[in-house]
């Protein structure tokens, strides 16, 4: 019988306000943040602001209060400290994704500033992929979208965490393809993302199969073979493998 130390550890999850917030027990987490007298004021404020994002029913008042608290934190905590960046990231998220109408321009500027600060924090570095999504799927003309994406290319240099870089390259690759952009450039982004590695099959397999297809289309046979062979090696039981093998075979046969 397994002594189940791991089990005991897992069963203990969900006991603190933060753990509850991380596992969708938002109402309980919010209540604990509000009533907690031992927590530091900044931590408490951040906890309340984060849970207000999803406290049900979601009201305009809750969202405005959340934005206000994030704003206060951004003012109280000096730039360069992680909590300052977290607060600004989530405030930008509110502006972009919660408020109606959204203030995408303000969100874009905040995301850009966060990337340029080079925080080296993965969550904050997601700002770069958010910028790609905002630009690549905006309602601008196709030419403007592609030009906007081209301007964002340089952001990769500001990202310090491997996962932040991976997500940026992934988003860029897909955004370029979704806009009929340069396939070779999209493929380069996919290669860069793949070099870092994916923790989950869903994203990895989708990227490998898309990248393999694109590489075959533009005649980069070596890259196509690389992605298809990797898929076959890592996920030999995947239901798409038969088709992948066929693609690979046709590449080998020229």
């Amino acid at each position: 019988m397994i002594p189940a130390a791991a089990f005991a550890k897992e069963a203990a999850l969900g006991n603190s306000a933060w753990e509850k917030a991380a596992t969708f027990q938002v109402k309980e987490a919010y209540g604990e943040f509000k009533q907690n007298k031992e927590m530091g004021p900044l931590e408490k404020k951040f906890g309340i602001a984060v849970t207000l994002l999803n406290l049900q029913p979601r009201t305009q008042g809750n969202l405005e209060e959340s934005a206000r608290l994030f704003g206060e934190l951004a003012g109280e905590v000096p730039k360069g400290e992680p909590l300052n960046a977290f607060a600004r990231f989530f405030r930008a998220r509110l502006m972009e994704f919660y408020f109606d109408p959204p203030d995408t321009e303000a969100a874009r500027q905040e995301y850009l500033a966060l990337v340029k600060e080079g925080t080296g924090n993965l969550v904050v570095e997601l700002s770069a992929s958010q910028l790609v999504v905002l630009e690549g799927f905006s309602e601008k003309s196709l030419e403007e979208r592609l030009a906007g994406l081209a301007e964002l290319e340089g952001l990769a240099a500001d990202l310090k965490t491997p996962s932040g870089q991976r997500e940026f390259h992934t988003a860029m690759g897909y955004a370029l393809l979704s806009n009929g952009g340069d396939k070779a450039k999209a493929l380069d982004h996919f290669l860069a993302a793949d070099k870092i590695g994916f923790p989950r099959k869903t994203s990895a397999s989708a990227l490998w199969l898309t990248a393999g297809t694109v590489a075959a289309e533009i005649g980069r046979t070596g890259d196509a073979k690389y992605f298809f062979e990797k898929m076959i090696e890592v996920y030999p039981h995947d239901p798409r493998i038969h088709m992948v093998k066929q693609r690979l075979e046709s590449l080998k046969n020229g």
Partner: protein, 537 residues
């Protein structure tokens, strides 16, 4: 006076008996609640619940429980089968009331917050070897890798944890009445292609006409028919998926990509591939019993086991029930699709692959279980290679564990991957589009139906229905992405306080990937919605 004394004595005895019963009941409850524990050197009771009442499954669970109790006489394992129709309400009552069994089948009635609140993740256990695999080829292999799908079915994308372990796998197949097949054709060879299926169906109709017996080729219902019709339609649309979506090899049915291209003229309802798919659906409908679209799942099964239909398309979960009810021999094969370049399905690429491995019967540990170590041990015992072998041998359901040899009856249900996934279904897998297709299906497969009549019926409503679906999907994706933000904020804070925690780092990494994929998906859907809306103006 004497009468009154007797009455008092009798009342006293009655009251005494009542008190005695109360004390015994109280003692029994206390014994069950806590006194009856391993700590006291007494027995432990582990209860597990599920909704699989199909034939053979309860027996399989009983045998596994008996095998465990033989090894652990101090443990009593109790199976609680709960009918599917009341399972959800029963589950919520048990969870909220704090009376939930130690192990419960997961998947029905479990929102993410309930899952997080009431179930224990199996993430860390997944990385440890299953001790009950000792002496097998899986000895020392991490639990996760002992399942044919790597426990993918157990992973919750929002909670970023694995929950439970799977015991079985599912596939959909065509079942045949072999005795009837022999009587009609003189052979027991099953059709391999759609063309052969049509030929066989014609023979059945001729046999029925000649013999005067009421026999139809295929038992249909609103439950079974869409499965086979969808597979036929999809066999024709792979080319369109590839033409309109760069990611078609990864996901040929991507809703937003297919919907956006429908709005932008990337494909139309009049494309030859669509027409070929509809013709296949119409033709197949002619071989099902009249009025099948109004019938339910049980009606079709009854039709088949009564020998009134030669074939039925349904899942592996029905195998034991059908076997126990049918007094004829069963044949089971893949659902035939048109051969490449054939007259019936010119756009077919070949045999259809099973869309996913789809392990199921996922059993999870509840947080309130009184003897977590024993419950975990029994869970791992159930998921071991020897017990999964027992599972398939008794239930006749396909196994979930690597290296388990399926029972001969379960063998035809082993996932088939040497085929093609096909393209998209006309209903795009979405509620409103599905509804208008379903409402008009009689115009396609009914006695006076036709492809033209069906298209005439759906054409005005098709894109508006797609738009409704896009609005709903976009809203759901937005809510899902918003929900991730609180988790992301909480994990970001916890990781900051505990920079050495590998687990937190992994969770932040996983969530980042989920967040970006979710945001991209949302943005694509929003754009598709704008395109459809513009095209409707």
């Amino acid at each position: 006076m004497g009468e009154s004394l007797r009455e008092k004595i009798l009342n006293g005895i009655g009251l005494g008996l009542l008190l005695l019963c109360f004390v015994i009941s109280l003692g029994r409850i206390m014994w069950d609640r806590g006194g009856n524990t391993q700590e006291h050197g007494e027995s432990v009771t582990i209860r597990f619940a599920h909704w699989q009442l199909e034939g053979g499954v309860r027996e399989a669970f009983d045998e596994i429980a008996a095998a465990y109790m033989k090894l652990h006489p101090e443990v009593e394992v109790v199976q609680i089968p709960v009918p599917e129709r009341i399972f959800q309400n029963w589950l919520i009552t048990q969870l909220v009331g704090g009376t939930a069994p130690d192990i419960i089948q997961m998947g029905m009635g479990l929102s993410e917050d309930r899952q997080a609140r009431f179930f224990v993740p199996s993430t860390e256990v997944a990385d440890l070897p299953n001790p009950w695999n000792r002496g097998t080829e899986l000895e020392g292999v991490p639990l996760r890798e002992t399942f044919i799908d790597g426990m993918e079915s157990c992973f919750n994308n929002s909670l970023l944890e694995y929950y439970g372990v799977p015991l079985s796998s599912y596939t959909v197949r065509m079942y045949y009445n072999l005795d009837l097949l022999h009587e009609i054709t003189g052979s027991e060879e099953l059709p391999a292609t759609y063309g052969e299926l049509v030929e066989l169906s014609k023979k059945v109709l001729a046999y029925a006409a000649k013999s005067g017996q009421k026999v139809f080729p295929i038992a249909g219902s609103k439950y079974n028919s869409p499965t086979i019709m969808s597979r036929l339609f999809k066999s024709q649309t792979a080319g369109i998926s590839r033409r309109v979506y760069y990611g078609a090899l990864a996901e040929p049915t991507n809703f937003s990509a297919i919907a956006e291209s429908a709005a932008n003229g990337g494909w139309t309802l009049d494309d030859p591939e669509v027409l070929a798919g509809l013709k296949l659906m119409r033709d197949l409908g002619q071989y099902m019993q009249p009025g099948f679209l109004q019938l339910g799942r049980d009606d079709a099964s009854f039709y088949f086991v009564q020998g009134k239909a030669l074939m039925i398309a349904t899942g592996s979960w029905d195998a034991t029930s059908i076997t126990s009810q049918a007094d004829f021999r069963l044949g089971i094969g893949l659902i035939p699709v048109p051969a490449p370049g054939s007259e019936q399905g010119p756009y077919s690429e070949g045999i259809a692959s099973d869309a996913s491995i789809g392990t199921g019967v996922i059993m999870g540990l509840t947080r309130d279980c009184e003897h977590p170590e024993v419950a975990l041990d029994f869970l791992l015992f159930m998921a071991s290679q020897p017990m999964n072998q027992l599972w398939t041998d008794v239930s006749k359901w396909a196994p979930s564990v690597v290296g388990v040899v399926p029972d001969p009856q379960a063998k035809p249900f082993q996932p088939f991957f040497d085929g093609y996934l096909g393209g998209f279904d006309l209903n795009l897998g979405q509620t409103d589009t599905m509804r208008i297709i379903s409402n008009a299906t009689n115009r396609l497969v009914g006695p006076t139906g036709s492809v033209e009549g069906f298209l005439e019926a759906i054409r005005p409503d098709f894109l508006p229905a797609v738009e409704h679906d896009l609005v709903r999907v976009e809203r759901n994706l937005r809510v899902s992405a918003q929900r991730s933000d609180t988790t992301l904020g909480a994990l970001a804070w916890m990781a900051l306080q505990d920079p050495g925690s590998v687990r937190l780092k992994e969770k932040v990494d996983l969530l980042s990937q989920t967040v970006v994929a979710g945001n991209l998906n949302h943005a694509r859907t929003q754009r598709a919605n704008n395109s459809v809306r513009k095209s409707l103006k």
